[in-house]
């Protein structure tokens, strides 16, 4: 297992270089003036774009530009984002924690519910729970995210005033922004609230997380339920499952130990992609709920042709994907030893 992980880790720099080459190649489609913004870290430098072009050789051979750009990227210098009005690296650090928090609260329910419901549905095929899970899956996937988002907002906020939009209420927000009253440790508001001993802010943040979490869970769990169900159905038809049953193993043991573990391979793939997808931000959900996440910033940057922000966001997303795939690879190997031997 250790050798397997080490091999995968050794591949990471190569993948990283490939990703940077791809992004840099796409950047070459932009004018030198637009690319110059990649080298700006302080807005005052915007006054001297021509000097930046000369200084960084943006009119010199492409390979020299790549090496210089990569050097800066490795130092965490991704340029200036006009959309966020701050350096790209700082923008990522600013907006990502909100998305990470949303992802963490969303991902666990999705996985738990998706796998549980998908398994139950397959095991009890054509029974009530199966019909319910299929209906749930169809319902979750039938409506676009914005329909669910607006619907839930209208009901749970508009009508019942239960779960407001945003990340925090006004009172909590003012406290969190005041360094004399609130110390920021992780930028995850729920965690920081507990670390500060302010339970009411923790609960307030949970109230604000509720609707985005429910919306995303509704849509994403449906997919996971369907994949888990079909994978489980396929596995339950395998000879070794029949053998396990023939040996007289109890049904829960057959399902949980023998069938489900093997059925999880496609579920892990999907989960890894889902996790990375959530971390990259969920534009529609963040917009409807006025949730200050990275997805909305990334989408705005793209619409506004904010080249450094888009490049930085793409690089960040690619890194997330690489690490997400690495985690999935490790999980595969843990679940199915044949993978690491192959």
């Amino acid at each position: 297992m250790t050798v397997f992980i080490a091999r995968r880790l050794l591949l990471l720099p190569l993948v990283g270089i490939g990703v940077t080459l791809l992004i840099f190649s796409l950047l070459q489609l932009l004018s030198p003036q637009q690319r110059a913004a990649l080298y700006v870290t302080d807005p005052r430098q915007l006054q001297a774009i021509d000097a930046i072009i000369r200084e960084h050789g943006l009119d010199r051979p492409v390979y020299i530009q790549y090496v210089q750009w990569l050097g800066r990227v490795l130092q965490g210098d991704l340029g200036w984002s006009e959309t966020a009005k701050m350096p790209v690296a700082r923008a990522i650090a600013t907006f990502f924690p909100a998305t990470l928090e949303l992802t963490l609260y969303t991902f666990l329910p999705i996985i738990a519910l998706g796998i549980w419901l998908g398994t139950k549905s397959a095991v009890h095929r054509d029974q009530v729970i199966d019909h319910f899970s299929r209906l749930f899956a169809i319902g979750g996937q039938s409506f676009p995210t914005f329909v669910w988002g607006l619907l839930l907002l209208m009901v749970f906020y508009g009508a019942w005033r239960l779960f407001p939009p945003g990340r925090l209420s006004l009172e909590a927000n003012l406290v969190v922004l005041d360094p004399t009253q609130f110390r920021t440790y992780t930028h995850l508001v729920t965690v920081d609230a507990l670390l500060n001993g302010k339970l009411w802010i923790f609960l307030d943040a949970l109230r604000h997380l509720a609707l985005p979490v429910i919306t995303l869970s509704l849509v994403q769990t449906a997919t996971l339920v369907r994949v888990t169900r079909s994978s489980m159905l396929e596995t339950l038809r395998q000879d070794y499952v029949r053998t396990a049953r023939a040996k007289g193993l109890e049904e829960p043991r057959v399902i949980n130990k023998h069938a489900r573990k093997n059925a999880l391979i496609p579920v892990i793939t999907l989960s890894a992609l889902l996790f990375v997808g959530l971390l990259n931000g969920v534009v529609i959900t963040e917009t409807i709920y006025n949730y200050p996440g990275i997805g909305r910033w990334g989408a705005n940057a793209a619409i506004q042709l904010d080249a450094p922000a888009v490049a930085g966001f793409a690089l960040f997303s690619a890194l997330l994907l690489v690490f997400g795939n690495l985690a999935a690879d490790i999980l595969y190997a843990w679940i199915d030893p044949r993978i690491r031997l192959g």
């Binding site: 932009l30 003036q33 600013t94 209208m154 906020y157 508009g158 939009p165 990340r167 003012l174 042709l305």
Partner: protein, 588 residues
């Protein structure tokens, strides 16, 4: 069940839920009684009054900084002293008989938010800095023109022509007085000062790397980049509110009461202005009482507020000070790396940078716009069709002025003429832009797209919304080929419209690269004309020129309205205000 019926299901569920909505309504207790929450779409461009030139930014600025004089209540023609202790008139001796020299006795005992006292020297510095800044297309011409007789501080080659000696002669301190000498008498001068004489502390500015007030460093601080200015995102004024935070992550600006204010401190302790792009979310926030005013609402969303308990709609507010929106063309577009130009050539997949320099193209666009549909759908009929650049109700407006109407045949005829017939033969592809979140301007862009694409299948229009500050930056860089934007008067005089819509140094022509020397001369001459009847005729002539040359075309003059919670007290309307003046407001 059909797909449509499936889609109806959540709507039915929502309707049922809303039917059982608890009765919060009018009896609802005031939420956050000492904090005012305003929601809107779009962000803020800059908090430096010498640079900013948009209503969103000034909606914040004019609550933090104060001018020498201010509008008296809702009046546009009467003023009250603010940082000056008197409004100059010939009668009180503070305005010279030749109408050129204004003396402003500066109020004593006023302190900036950091506690330092405000002096006449700060006033002089602030005004001189404003003139020197003169960023391209910015507001400095408002005072440059009357004070120094200049429309720009730079010549055609970009060289600084502003003389330090002229600055110091025109604006100077004498004891506790500030004396401003105009090049020529200028009727609306006090109107301009009522919004454009904000005072910043000289020492703070210099400490933050801004102009030191000397001749030697003038060039460096002329036409600076937005973010390089000392007060771009920092504020230190004398006004009723202090900037507590520009929270970019939370997309909000928080103001806190200035408890050491020279007048009675404001009743509100805090003002939070939040950027909420989704209209449905803003509407629900106001209905829930989590917001006190929706500053981004358009008439398209107004039905959702009508009859809602706890919500007050104040309609039919006196207007006549805005032309909004108008459609602008950039005559020489910066197409480098600019996808809004498509291929950058007249090949059916794009446009060349000078595409709109042909008046036939511009007329084609103007005749292709369905004004009545826009008026009905965008404003629910609560607007009048614009007749030229000067808004209805303002001096210089001509009821008989010919104006564009929706005429597909004439649009087609103009497109056939354009570029010697090449436009019709090859077609084009261009992007029409608007500021994201403005659903009315978005509707206008869609109307333009639908109608132009219907004229010739080779005509392709994309539409795109950009966040406000980036929109302004792209406009300033001449990157927007066709764009929707509006104009709120800086002072109630037609010159403020003709200059910024037609004069080559005006805000829009400057970025459009539109220059017509005859128009420039006429704009300047009309501003200086003292005979009212002659002046009116000159504005009629300018309106004719506007129709003939089509540097842009105005669509409607809208009727203003406001939506806020019923518990908001003390709000009043002045058509000149760029936003909400929070000083007089309370909740309860």
């Amino acid at each position: 069940m059909t797909k449509t019926r499936w889609f109806m299901l959540p709507v039915l569920v929502a309707a049922l839920a809303l039917a059982f909505q608890p009765g919060l309504a009018s009896g609802q207790a005031v939420k956050n009684p000492d904090t005012f929450v305003a929601v809107s779409f779009g962000d803020w461009d800059s908090l430096d009054w010498a640079w900013a030139y948009d209503t969103a930014s000034f909606g914040v600025i004019f609550n933090i900084y104060e001018p020498l004089i201010f509008f008296e209540g809702g009046r546009m023609d009467r003023f009250t002293p603010m940082l000056a202790t008197a409004v100059p008139t010939i009668q009180n001796g503070l305005l010279s008989k030749d109408g050129k020299t204004y003396t402003f006795p500066i109020r004593q005992g006023v302190r900036f938010h950091d506690g330092t006292p405000m002096t006449a020297e700060d006033v002089v510095y602030s005004l001189r800095r404003f003139l020197l800044t003169d960023r391209s297309g910015g507001p400095s011409s408002l005072l440059l023109e009357p004070i120094l007789g200049l429309t720009s501080t730079r010549d055609d080659k970009g060289n600084l022509i502003l003389k330090y000696a002229d600055l110091t002669r025109a604006i100077r301190a004498q004891g506790n007085n500030v004396i401003i000498t105009l090049k020529e008498p200028f009727g609306p001068f006090l109107s301009i000062l009522a919004q454009w004489s904000y005072v910043i502390p000289k020492k703070t500015a210099i400490a933050r790397g801004d102009w030191d007030g000397t001749a030697a460093t003038m060039r460096k601080y002329n036409n600076p980049k937005k973010e390089s200015m000392a007060f771009f995102e920092f504020a230190n004024g004398t006004g009723p509110f202090k900037l507590e935070r520009w929270d970019r992550a939370g997309r909000q600006i928080i103001l806190v009461r200035n408890d050491n204010y020279w007048r009675t401190p404001a009743r509100l302790r805090r003002v939070v202005i939040r950027q909420v792009d989704e209209p449905a979310t803003r509407i629900l926030m106001l209905k829930a009482g989590d917001a006190d005013a929706d500053l981004g609402v358009t008439r398209r969303e107004l039905p959702q507020y009508e009859g809602a308990p706890g919500i007050r709609i104040i309609d039919d507010l006196p207007t006549g000070t805005s032309t909004n929106p108008a459609v602008f063309f950039t005559f020489n577009i910066d197409c480098a790396g600019n996808p809004d130009c498509g291929s950058g050539r007249l090949d059916g997949a794009g446009i060349p940078p000078n595409f709109f320099s042909d008046v036939n193209v511009r007329r084609g666009f103007a005749y292709a716009f369905d004004y009545n549909t826009f008026l009905q759908d965008g404003f629910r009929g609560k607007a009048t069709l614009a007749k030229g650049v000067i808004p209805r109700g303002m001096f210089g407006f001509n009821e008989k002025q010919e104006y564009f109407t929706f005429d597909r045949a004439r649009a087609a005829a103009n497109f056939r003429e354009a570029w010697g017939g090449q436009v019709w033969e090859r077609g084009f592809k261009v992007t029409v832009l608007y500021n994201a979140g403005n659903v009315v301007r978005e509707l206008g862009a869609r109307i333009l797209k639908d109608n132009i694409e219907a004229i010739n299948p080779k005509f392709k229009i994309d539409i795109r919304g950009i966040t406000w500050s980036s929109y302004l930056a792209a406009m300033d860089a001449s990157k927007l080929p066709v764009f929707f934007i509006g104009w709120l008067a800086d002072y109630p005089d037609p010159h403020n419209f003709t200059f910024h819509f037609m004069h080559s140094d005006g805000t829009f022509p400057h970025v459009q690269k539109f220059k017509n020397e005859e128009v420039d001369r006429l704009v300047t001459a009309a501003a200086r004309e003292t005979d009212r009847a002659k002046r009116e005729q000159m504005y009629f002539e300018l309106n004719r020129k506007y129709f003939e040359l089509v540097p842009s075309f105005a669509t409607v003059n809208a009727i203003a309205f406001r939506v806020q919670r019923s518990w908001v007290r003390g709000w009043y309307w002045n058509p000149m205000f760029p936003g909400t003046y929070y000083y007089t407001i309370s909740k309860g």
